[in-house]
Symmetry: C2
Subunit: 221 residues, 2 copies
Amino acid sequence: MDIEKAGSRREEEEPIVQRPKLDKGKGKAHVFAPPMNYNRIMDKHKQEKMSPAGWKRGVAIFDFVLRLIAAITAMAAAAKMATTEETLPFFTQFLQFQADYTDLPTMSSFVIVNSIVGGYLTLSLPFSIVCILRPLAVPPRLFLILCDTVMMGLTLMAASASAAIVYLAHNGNSSSNWLPVCQQFGDFCQGTSGAVVASFIAATLLMFLVILSAFALKRTT
Amino acid sequence: MDIEKAGSRREEEEPIVQRPKLDKGKGKAHVFAPPMNYNRIMDKHKQEKMSPAGWKRGVAIFDFVLRLIAAITAMAAAAKMATTEETLPFFTQFLQFQADYTDLPTMSSFVIVNSIVGGYLTLSLPFSIVCILRPLAVPPRLFLILCDTVMMGLTLMAASASAAIVYLAHNGNSSSNWLPVCQQFGDFCQGTSGAVVASFIAATLLMFLVILSAFALKRTT
């Protein structure tokens, strides 16, 4: 009995839609066939609703993981650079040879920029969670891609400038008579090189985040 | 006479779709009402087809213009750096003081990177034109945002590394006993500074291109 009732209820809701076959003589519509593109639109509408949410949620979860790793890496780079210092064992009556990141302005800006980027990445984790919960929402994703692009630029600037200085400290430059200081401050150079490598890793992860967001934003036609 | 024919042709195509009002007693469908969400779907379908193509074409044209300017700027930066050299007026029996970009490895990589980026931006102009002609097409736009992101990173790296060296050349560093060479090679430093500024402009334009592509890619729900 229930099946019959359910059947009749479904029959009532199921819209029977057909194309109007006009009777040439009297012009009165008898039986209607569905409009040519009706099914295609309904399929596209349903198709749009189901499949993209699935893989976009996967992209959002991957985004969250990458963002977490990038945040840790950027902060580790800043911490490593800030704590790298070396005091040479020999000294004179007035002089003690000591090197730390404040001696080079590029390294100071490196610490500041990587701290800002690490902070930004940590604060952006909630937005990434919003993208996981609502994978089809555009605004949070657009906000993330804009900020990630800018932060990626900042990180790359700081990392490359410091890399140029560290390279110079390792090799010196005969044309401009700049001597390689790493021959005296080996540990200091080791520490700063490690920090620069970490910062490049964070910048690369940010680049992946931008590319991931581009895929997540794209229309699924 | 034409209006009447046009009217009948439109009547023939216009699908008359109605909800099936069942005759309680005999269960035969007489007149059909449109399904509840049919109009909403058709409107959304039409709305998706018309409005976004308009503003996305505008974005694509703006993208083309920015791309053209960025290409010129990047190539100008490379050319400026490559042609900057200075020979001091005094010289000794063995020595002539001469400075050019090959004296600093960072500057050499600057010339190479900016030439690659300038070449890329020129070759990507046809893709940008494709995006103007077919504003709703996703693949060319996705290709552009991926490459622009990588090229932006490369440009920023080259520009920042060179900026660190130029800054050092202008100011020197007392901690590491690096003397400011710009005091002797003023023109050389002027030329390299100009090239670095041009490269930062190209990098900033690339950043705008990435952000523009993100907007163009986003779904218009």
